[in-house]
């Protein structure tokens, strides 16, 4: 997200430098000087990225070492691609890849469109008070941490006295082991993602919709288009660039499911479908102390993510959209 903002803020600058008349050799330095205030304002951001995002990347070299904490990066022996070879040849690789890809796909298919649909629906609401209050209510889950979300669902879904299972039993059904049955893990995970994130996700689409020229709707109405037609032919095309940017960003996070959520809903009974790259990095690296191996797995995941973003962006450009950079 921050990358997008950075790109957007950078855009006006390039525009002005293009408009400026051609200058002799020292033009770059003077341009720098001319916009000194702008650059000065960028300094904290740049520093932030250098210190917290780029400097720690140096630590990635441990993926090619047999890293031992007491020897440090300087003293640990180098092992080349050993960790990568081990990772790609172990059975767990296939399982992890399958679990991660399946859940990512499910999220793209089920979770990604929800904010768009929600935003379209909200956009059609006439009473402003109702619209605002609905918006506020659906934002709320975003501010809860995964620990809270997982705990709420735990209390609701447990078979040992959970509310939902109590209801099922009351109505004569068999209790469903939502929390431990491997078949329930994916629906549960996607459902929680939607519950927590959908409301917050509408913000960006609603903002895009406010930019639509109201005259277009009036013209369409005169032509006899009903609400559905207006949505289909005006609102949706208007927010298409936004949808595409969001989609590219979602693709970039394709393998980046995040550790916290899965860690909280996973247990030894549903680990077979729940273990993803992030949780695997945690268990091998932090719990079992194989720091180098975990770093190699993490590096692999990051590289795949990078490739996916670049590909998605190219694709978007080919279809005549703007992309993220």
């Amino acid at each position: 997200m921050s990358a997008v903002i950075a790109a957007k803020t950078a855009a006006p600058e390039t525009a002005t430098s293009k408009v400026a008349p051609p200058r002799p050799p020292r033009k770059r330095a003077s341009a720098l000087w001319k916009h000194k205030a702008l650059y000065l304002m960028a300094v904290p951001g740049i520093l932030y990225f250098l210190v917290f995002k780029y400097a720690p990347m140096g630590g990635l070299v441990i993926a090619f070492q047999d890293y031992m904490p007491f020897l440090g990066i300087g003293g640990s022996p180098w092992v080349g691609f050993d960790h990568f070879v081990r990772f790609f040849t172990e059975d767990t690789f296939v399982v992890l890849l399958r679990n991660t890809v399946v859940i990512s796909l499910l999220l793209l298919v089920f979770s990604f469109p929800v904010p768009i649909i929600l935003a379209l629906l909200l956009n059609e609401v006439r009473t402003k008070v109702f619209q605002r209050s609905v918006q506020t209510v659906i934002y709320l889950p975003h501010f809860m941490s995964w620990v809270i979300v997982a705990s709420i669902f735990y209390v609701l879904l447990s078979t040992d006295g959970g509310a939902v299972n109590n209801l099922i039993v009351e109505w004569g059904g068999e209790p469903i082991p939502f929390l431990t049955d491997p078949d329930w893990l994916r629906p549960l995970y996607v459902g929680q993602e939607i519950w927590k994130g959908a409301g917050w996700g509408t913000i960006v689409y609603l903002a895009a919709m406010t930019a639509v020229d109201t005259q277009l709707y009036e013209a369409a109405e005169l032509d006899g288009a009903n609400r559905l037609r207006q949505t289909w032919h005006i609102t949706l095309p208007a927010i298409r660039p936004t949808i595409i940017v969001m989609f590219i960003l979602a693709i970039g996070d394709f393998l980046e499911l995040g550790f916290e959520h899965m860690f909280l809903v996973m247990n030894s009974l549903n680990r077979s479908v729940g273990d993803i790259f992030d949780t695997y990095v945690y268990t091998t690296g932090i719990e079992n102390g194989q720091l180098s191996y975990a770093a190699a797995v993490g590096l692999f995941k990051g590289l795949v993510g990078l490739i996916l973003v670049i590909m998605a962006n190219r694709l978007a450009k080919r279809f005549g959209e703007e992309g993220v950079y």
Binding site: P69, T159, N267, I286, G289
Partner: protein
């Protein structure tokens, strides 16, 4: 990370500089030593909240030992990742409590010489010199003692059964696995709390069943403590033995009849305690000392709770002799280790050892066990201790009790129900204790691979008990692990065992 270390380094340097000036001012000698910066101590927290910094107990201990100290609490539930990342990043304290004795990371760190070898110093201190030689031996790694061992009672585990439920159903207190099975089923099906609802079960187990509760039960079937020596001299993990599998088959049977809480694999320690306090189940395999805690918890919710516990320390199966697996590594609950990065000189080490030694004085032990007389507890003519302010004891004293270097300094008589009884029964346990024969042996593969292997077997165990897989699948998992280091561990341990035992 780098930057954080720099800041910390700078802070340490500043503190050191201050300390030096302090020394200069007060002249020479031993008094000055007490004036140097506070000793930092990374310790486990078993309670939900941390005690106040510079609170009553801390101040009193500082007074007694003449040494200022700061506690860095690590929640016990997340100790593995906290300690592992602290070891990996080198951000340690002067004293580090290492309580997970079989963790790969901890053993690697100890073996690498990151910590002081303290054996030769122990003799110089009145209390440290008196540590049970067996415990010292158990605490050694490759013949070196990389820290002061936590001295614990050798076997604290037993089976707690709701006596009031037994009475309601007209059942006898179980002392055999057969009877325990019947009790578990009766608790699950016969409404032992008499509220007319089907809302109770037998065993209340938790996520760590394989490592804690169930593990203790396998002892009654004849399985060893983590490892055992076979008739032909092989050192094998207990979970590969027939006795262990027999116990699994039995436990699954109980589980299928509803005698174990059905989703124990999702239950955390705190949930488990709540469930017990709320009377959701009537059997717990745990430390015998827990009975009083469960009662206190139940009473805090309902002062009129009918809860009564039977403490059983002699559970048996028909053809296996009386035995109990140690839950404290044979009285060794880990190490108080002193990293060389923090404790830089011998003089500093001696200062810290003096501090630890004084914590084992009776007075310090009383502070960390009962608190301050008059504030937290009262003691009568017969030496019976009564905790008078349970809430402040829980907040201010209890956190320190798990950091006592020795739990065996004094056994107080208590007016709290079940305390004396539990102490008595735990003492009886000592005679029947079974200790891991591989504990002080060393195996490189164990240090590297054990955590991974154990986790996979743990998963397979959970899947078997809950009926997701069958015994053949469990055995297949173990067979699969043989190539991943299990066989190497057995081989290395067997060789090391043969060497030690001729």
């Amino acid at each position: 990370m780098r930057r954080g270390m720099f800041v910390k380094g700078a802070a340490t340097a500043a503190v050191a500089a201050l300390a030096l000036t302090a020394c200069g001012n007060s002249g020479s000698g031993e008094e000055a030593e007490a004036d140097t910066g506070p000793v930092t101590w990374m310790a486990m927290l078993h309670t939900p909240t941390t005690p106040e910094k510079d609170g009553v107990i801390e101040t009193a201990l500082e007074e007694h030992t003449g040494q200022k100290f700061d506690m860095q609490w690590v929640p016990d539930a997340s100790k593995e990742e906290k300690i592992n990342s602290a070891l990996a990043s080198g951000s340690l304290a002067d004293i580090v409590s290492l309580t997970v004795t079989d963790s790969t990371q901890v053993r690697q760190a100890l073996g690498s010489g990151q910590f002081w070898d303290v054996e030769k110093y122990l003799a110089d201190y009145p209390n440290l010199s008196k540590i049970d030689p067996d415990t010292v031996e158990a605490a050694k790694l490759d013949g070196k003692l990389y820290g002061v061992p936590f001295q614990k009672i050798k076997a604290r585990y037993g089976v707690l059964v709701r006596q009031d439920w037994l009475d309601n159903l007209g059942l006898e207190t179980p002392h055999t696995i057969e009877d325990l099975t019947k009790v578990a089923e009766a608790f699950a099906t016969k409404d032992p709390d008499g509220n007319g609802k089907d809302d109770t079960t037998g065993f209340i187990d938790r996520e760590e069943s394989f490592l804690v509760g169930f593990r203790s039960l396998t002892g009654y079937f004849g399985a060893g403590d983590k490892f055992e020596v076979t008739d032909d001299g092989q050192v094998v993990p207990a979970f590969t033995t027939d006795a262990f599998k027999q116990a699994m088959e039995w436990y699954r049977g109980v589980y299928e009849k509803g005698g174990v809480n059905q989703e124990f694999v999702t239950v955390q320690k705190q949930n488990q305690q709540d469930a017990i306090a709320q009377g959701k189940g009537g059997i717990v395999v745990t430390g015998l000392f827990e009975a009083k805690n469960y009662l206190a918890l139940a009473e805090s919710a309902d002062p009129k709770t009918p809860m009564k516990w039977a403490l059983v320390n002699d559970m048996r199966t028909a053809d296996v002799e009386h035995r109990i697996l140690t839950d404290t590594g044979g009285g060794m609950g880990g190490w108080l280790a002193f990293p060389k990065t923090e404790v830089k000189s011998e003089a500093e080490l001696e200062k810290i050892l003096t501090f630890v030694d004084k914590l084992m004085d009776e007075e310090a032990f009383a502070l960390m066990t009962n608190g301050v007389e008059g504030t937290h507890y009262e003691i009568d003519g017969d030496g019976v201790v009564t905790i008078t302010d349970q809430t402040s004891w829980e907040q201010e004293v209890q956190p320190f009790s798990s950091s006592r270097p020795s739990e065996k300094v004094v056994t107080y008589k208590s007016s709290t129900p079940y305390v004396d009884e539990a102490n008595e029964l735990m003492k009886e346990n000592e005679e029947f204790v079974v200790i891991n024969p591989a504990q002080s042996l060393s195996s490189d593969t164990f240090d590297r691979q054990w955590s991974t292997i154990e986790q996979q077997v743990n998963d397979a165990y959970n899947q078997y008990i809950t009926g997701q897989i069958e015994m053949a699948d469990y055995e297949a998992v173990i067979e699969g692990l043989r190539g991943q280091g299990l066989d190497a561990i057995i081989e290395e341990y067997t060789a090391a065992y043969a060497k030690v035992n001729g």
